[in-house]
């Protein structure tokens, strides 16, 4: 056995609770931005355009902005709570401190499912993209996508295993390239520098912009989430940033601003170049709309740039999902909500290595065996359940620890307006999801009810109830 000197100056993460090996605090605001935007940006490259199919171009824009309001509320609430509850697990840890163990267990599961499913979806997409590259380069046979799906997951798991700084620096580079590609496409096609190619007036003539009226807008809300789904993942970096009070609000709020810009530009460019009937069919029509828009320009450099952007956005998303799912699983293990074995930290790389390894075969199984649309739907539903918990969490947080009672890294304005707005938008989105995926929604809720019963009647007896609350906070109001 190795001997540890916990007074060593070369190892941090050691503190009054007895931590000998903890996660490494090396990240800055740019890494937080890269984590949040990296997970989401793939939604701009593909997936959002199903909203056009549901309700037309204007419905997709309204959904884009309504979902933008929903996620701005998420980002504001997350920034305040996570800059105060700065621990791995993000919303799981928030729920544990503010609401209670059963809510925390459920939120932990939502997080792990949402991110692992999204990781699997990204790996499937990466395999598909490489098969398209093979076809474009003249390969006549049928490319086996499986080795590329497996490589994407295993390589990114290896990167995550080796350390968080390299992982999120890699995300920063590829996310910045993918975001820049959207900006360059907009500048090249919009006519800002002359020679614009936009044909909005023609493509939205007559009924084309809003073919199904207001019900189309409601239906589009489900896929409106795609523009931003995953920005809340910034909170999982809370225990690895050098300054949680500064880096988390800065990175998260800069992230949502980036996504609002990217989403609006994406809508503008794609609806101005691609007819809505083709754009809205993400299965047999425009699978990767930004890439298709680049192809319509006839510019080979733009085609290559957006092709690389699509692949990078996919990899950045999978990479961020591995990071976030493993932190949530690790936090559940550390508190004994799951076997404590998962709460281990690698002494050299300072990563939750057992959680990272454990989730690899699960992601592989979903990526290789489950259809893409089912994987994506389970990811969206888990995310939506998580957002619904957040308003309740925020209201209780302000009530139990009013302003001035504990130090907050960021205090969001207009409380409780963002919480109530978020709750209302979640309710609308649940109706939209129920219209399209009612069976999956009911199945998902039934699964979480069964999991809750298991936790309540069996698992909770193993939880060390005193040891799970280690924040040096005063007692909440009324207790």
């Amino acid at each position: 056995m190795a001997n540890f000197d916990i007074t060593s100056k070369e190892r941090d993460g050691m503190g009054p609770h007895g931590t000998q090996v903890g996660l490494l605090r090396v990240l800055g605001p740019a890494h937080v931005w890269a984590l949040g935007v990296g997970i989401v940006l793939v939604g701009e490259y593909m997936g959002w355009n199903f909203a056009v199919g549901k309700g037309g171009a204007y419905a997709a824009l309204v959904a884009c902005w309504f979902a933008g309001i929903l996620y701005t509320c998420v980002a504001m609430i997350d920034s305040e709570v996570t800059s105060t509850v700065a621990a791995a697990g993000g919303q799981y840890t928030q729920a544990k401190h503010i609401i209670g163990p059963l809510m925390a267990f459920n939120v932990g599961l939502y997080l792990v499912f949402a991110y692992t499913m999204l990781e699997a979806a990204n790996a499937i997409t990466a395999g598909y993209l490489i098969s398209q590259v093979a076809a474009l380069t003249g390969y006549a046979g049928t490319l086996d996508q499986q080795p590329f799906i497996v490589l994407a997951i295993v390589f990114l798991a290896w990167l995550n295993y080796r350390g968080v700084l390299a992982t999120l620096t890699f995300n920063l580079v590829i996310t910045a390239i993918a975001f820049s590609a959207i900006i360059i496409l907009f500048l090249a096609t919009s006519g800002v520098f002359g020679g614009g190619m936009m044909r909005h007036a023609d493509l939205m003539a007559d009924n084309a912009a809003l073919p199904y009226g207001w019900i189309g807008i409601l239906a589009a809300m489900h896929f409106g989430l795609w523009y931003y789904l995953g920005i809340e993942g910034t909170t999982q970096a809370a225990e690895e940033v050098r300054s949680p009070a500064r880096a988390l609000p800065f990175g998260t709020l800069a992230g949502i601003m980036t996504l609002l810009i990217a989403a609006t530009l994406t809508w503008y460019v794609c609806t101005g170049l691609i007819p809505w009937e083709y754009l809205g069919d993400g299965t047999n029509g425009s699978v990767a709309p930004l890439f298709d828009a680049a192809r319509l320009t006839g510019s080979q450099p733009l085609v290559w740039l957006l092709g690389v952007g699509t692949l990078f956005a996919t990899l950045a998303s999978a990479n961020g999902c591995i990071n976030d799912a493993s932190r949530a699983w690790f936090a559940l293990g550390r508190d004994k909500y799951l076997p404590g074995w998962f709460g281990a930290v690698h002494p050299r790389f300072r990563t939750p290595y057992r959680s990272i390894v454990f989730l690899v075969p699960i992601a592989l199984a979903f990526a290789l065996k489950v259809p893409l649309d089912q994987v994506i739907t389970f990811s969206i539903l888990s995310g939506l359940l998580e957002y619904t918990f957040m308003p309740l969490n925020m209201i209780l947080f302000r009530r139990k620890w009013p302003m001035g009672k504990i130090k907050r890294g960021y205090e969001h304005p207009f409380h409780p307006l963002p919480a109530l707005t978020l709750l209302a938008l979640c309710a609308i989105t649940f109706v939209a999801v129920f219209l399209g995926y009612g069976t999956q929604l009911v199945a998902m809720i039934a699964f979480y009810i069964v999991a809750s019963l298991w936790f309540h009647f069996w698992r909770y007896r193993f939880v060390n109830r005193g040891a799970q609350f280690t924040m040096p906070w005063p007692r909440p109001e009324g207790y």
Binding site: M1, A2, F4, G13, M14, G15, P16, H17, G18, T19, Q20, V21, G22, L23, R25, A86, A87, A88, G89, T93, A134, Y139, G141, L143, D144, P147, F148, V150, L151, V154, F155, A157, W158, Y161, E239, A331, R334, G340, W341, G343, A344, V345, H346, P347, R348, Y353, R354, V357, V360, G404, K405, I406, K407, A467, T470, M471, P472, W473, P474, R475
Partner: protein
Amino acid sequence: MSFWNYMEYGAWALSAIFAVYIVVDWLRTDATYSEEVLTSSREGELEAITEEHRS
């Protein structure tokens, strides 16, 4: 065999290399350090040292 057939085999080979690296290092780490050390991480260490709150 075409270029893309070689790419398929290359992807399988790289996947195997990364997977073997992870598994070997995982087993070696578990054998080298005690479980007490590996699972000693607790949340709130930074806050316990630096934060002051009104009670």
